[in-house]
């Protein structure tokens, strides 16, 4: 495994910016998640590192080596795609062994068998090794395609939304599994997703991308508790952070035009009077959708709350985040 460093990396497609001036260090052994909506430049970053695309400017260093002139094979990276593509005519065993049989690697047969057995064990598909790839469920197929990356010992694993085509239950299981694999192999991972839960739960560091730019890079806790902009604050947290005019609760803090209040950071029973529009009982909590002077605000209440639409409730912000007119965080 190796450290990967991006220096002022840029890539455009005609008029469209893929990524612009991205610099970041992925430390050896880190699990870095790039988070952003469609078109933010996540996949472009992966493709540049893997060598599937050529950068317009900037440098990529893998394990202390500038890989700008190298082919994808020479870069020694392993990629897992969103759409698992297995060889349908091969068994799971042969699918897993395939990358090791590459003429560049020239792996001895007993080493291949050992490696395949080890990875099958980690991914809990040992009992399916002799099945055809087409005889697997969706979750098993995706595990095999992750396994096909894991049999190798590359500098870095690059994963492009590998869980997004799976159903919710399986996604939850594989999230925990990927974290366990990361910890037990000490692997370096760069993982791309638009799913904030994946980013928060798995990452050692999260990079938030917006229109091709890396706007914040830090631990999940850092990004959640200390977002540096309105944009980053709205990327994490469910339900989403409430953004309201700074003077909604009287006396705007100096320089602030907007307040950001996470739903769980709203004091009930004091402050301004809001009206309940809708109550959602989600089992472990209830969500109150409120309206205050024309602004929609969502907050959390006890799951058995007796509020009903039309009720009035006083609310006040608790440690709100303050932003200026440009959307930058002031305090």
């Amino acid at each position: 495994m190796a450290e990967v460093v991006l220096k002022n990396l840029s890539k455009s497609y005609g008029q469209d910016v893929g990524i612009a001036d991205v610099s970041m260090t992925i430390p050896d052994g880190a699990f870095v998640v790039l988070l952003g909506p469609t078109g933010a430049g996540k996949t472009t970053t992966l493709r540049l590192i893997s060598g599937l695309e050529k950068a317009d400017g900037g440098e990529i260093w893998i394990g202390g080596r500038n890989v700008g002139g190298e082919t994808p094979a020479q870069r020694d990276v392993a990629m897992v795609f969103q759409q698992y593509s297995l060889y349908p005519h091969l068994t799971v065993r042969d699918n897993l062994a395939f990358p090791l049989k590459s003429p560049i690697l020239r792996t001895p047969a007993d080493e291949i068998a050992r490696k395949v057995a080890e990875v099958a064990g980690i991914l809990q598909i040992a009992h399916k090794l002799d099945n055809k790839a087409t005889e697997l469920s969706g979750g098993e197929m995706q595990r095999v395609s992750i396994g096909r990356a894991l049999v190798r010992d590359p500098s870095i694993y690059l994963m492009d939304e590998p869980l997004s085509s799976l159903d919710a239950k399986l996604r939850t299981d594989l999230r925990v599994e990927l974290k366990r694999i990361h910890a037990s192999l000490g692997a370096t991972l760069l993982y791309v997703t638009h799913d904030q839960i994946e980013a928060m739960t798995m990452a050692t560091q999260v990079g938030v991308l917006n229109e091709g730019r890396l706007v914040q890079y830090g631990t999940p806790r850092d990004i959640y508790e200390n977002p540096n902009s309105l944009y980053v604050a709205s990327r994490l947290g469910l339900p989403r952070i409430n953004i309201v005019p700074a003077d909604l609760f009287g006396g705007a803090p100096a320089g602030a035009t907007h307040l950001g209040m996470r739903p769980e950071h709203i004091q009930q029973g004091e402050g301004q009077e809001a009206e309940v529009q809708r109550v959602e009982h989600l089992g472990d909590q209830a969500r109150l959708h409120l309206i205050l002077n024309g602004h929609a605000i969502t907050t959390i209440a006890d799951p058995h709350t007796t509020y009903t639409p039309g009720a009035h409730i006083r609310i006040a912000p608790k440690n709100p985040l303050c932003f200026d007119a440009q959307g930058a965080r002031i305090f």
């Binding site: 974290k179 839960i197 769980e264 009982h281 089992g283 472990d284 969500r287 058995h304």
Partner: protein, 365 residues
């Protein structure tokens, strides 16, 4: 608008039984969810209400009238599909007008009605645009509009948000629910997404393997699951199942887990053999002391809360706790469970044991 009563409805496709005798009532104006994994029979049930499939046996009443054998056109029900099909060569206005024109409505009335619906959906500005260039959300709104213009008695929706990405789905589900609150039309909505069902539904029917497992309000189903399937399917992470061998008498108020006494709601039936102690992750508390202990396997940060995965003498367990509590992998911790929220199950049948917690809900089936 309309009340829909489903009575012992059943559907067979050849020798395959898609829906077993199911009964439930959808009240006038309700937003009603049919929830379950793929293949559970929820879409077949919806299609039978709409008339796209005829039931093998059983009855369906729409406002008191038995409609189970009527063709769809005689039922006055509108259907919104997962893959919304719009006429690609027509503009938005003509897509919306089509159902009315084909009913023979006068042109002036069609125009007024289309304008009114466009207003409700906030798509007045795009009425003259071709549907080809529209965003996913606008296409969805047009598809909805085409269902609404006819003013049917009820709406059937088959995962209408299934094809959208997560963020947009959240937005559209709020919009759809707000639209329902304004119009008050009886809506039956099929989904496999439990959060969507909890968020949008007034009532939920949970189906599995062609059978209705439970029917009730979201909070009832969450707090008082009738079966292990429901307890597992609803909630994220789902209910923990601690498995144990034991026997308990009618009236018991505690069980023994690995030699430790755990309080439970007063039981109203006896049971013995392989049993399951069901507790939701947010009702698990970690402490330094405590005689029932577990080892921390993993923690997942979620902002204000975190999910801790633990190994216990009775199997793996997840706890949702405040994220300020530091839990290190490998750490041994004491565990306690909020006794009033516990549901016991019979492991063999998967059925919940009756207790003072769930008696009222289970009695209603």
């Amino acid at each position: 608008m309309a009340q829909i009563v489903i009575k012992s409805i059943r559907k067979d496709f050849g020798s395959f039984n898609a829906v077993k005798e199911s009964s439930f009532t959808i009240e006038d104006g309700e937003f009603f969810m049919l929830l379950g994994p793929s293949g559970c029979g929820k879409t077949t049930t919806l299609r039978m209400i709409a008339g796209l499939e005829l039931p093998t046996s059983g009855e369906i009443y729409l406002d008191g009238e038995e409609i189970s054998q009527l063709p769809p056109s005689k039922r006055d029900i509108a259907f919104v599909f997962q893959m919304f099909a719009l006429y690609p060569h027509l503009n938005v206005r003509r897509n919306l007008s089509y159902p009315l024109v084909s009913q023979g409505m006068a042109r002036r009335d069609v125009k007024a009605k289309v304008e009114e619906v466009a207003q409700i959906l906030g798509i007045t500005g795009i009425l003259n645009r071709p549907v080809g260039g529209l965003s996913g959300g606008d296409r969805q709104r047009v598809a909805l509009g085409r269902a609404i213009v006819r003013e049917p008695k009820a709406f059937m929706m088959d995962e209408p948000l299934g094809a959208l990405d997560a963020e947009f789905r959240e937005h559209m589900s709020e919009e759809l629910r707000a639209l329902h609150d304004r119009m008050g039309a009886t809506t039956v909505y099929v989904t496999h997404d439990q959060l969507e069902a909890m968020q949008m539904g007034d009532k939920i029917v949970v189906m599995n393997n062609a059978v209705v497992e439970q029917f009730g309000t979201p909070q009832q189903i969450y707090d008082k699951p009738a079966t292990m399937f429901v307890a597992d399917f609803i909630g994220s992470p789902s209910m923990n199942f601690l498995r144990f061998d034991g026997s308990l008498a009618d009236g018991a108020e505690s069980v023994s887990l690995n030699g430790q006494t755990m309080h439970v709601p007063r039981q109203m039936q006896g049971a013995s053999g392989k049993l399951v102690f069901g507790v939701r992750p947010e009702h698990v508390t970690l402490s330094d002391s405590g005689d029932y202990r577990g080892e921390v396997l993993a923690s997942e940060y979620l902002g204000t809360t975190q999910i801790i995965t633990l190994d216990t003498p009775n199997g793996e367990l997840k706890a949702r706790i405040d994220s300020t509590r530091v839990a290190t992998v490998g750490e041994q911790v004491g565990l306690s469970f909020n006794p009033r929220t516990v549901t016991l199950f019979d492991a063999g049948s998967g059925q919940a044991l009756r207790s003072e917690l769930n008696d009222e809900v289970l009695a209603h089936g």
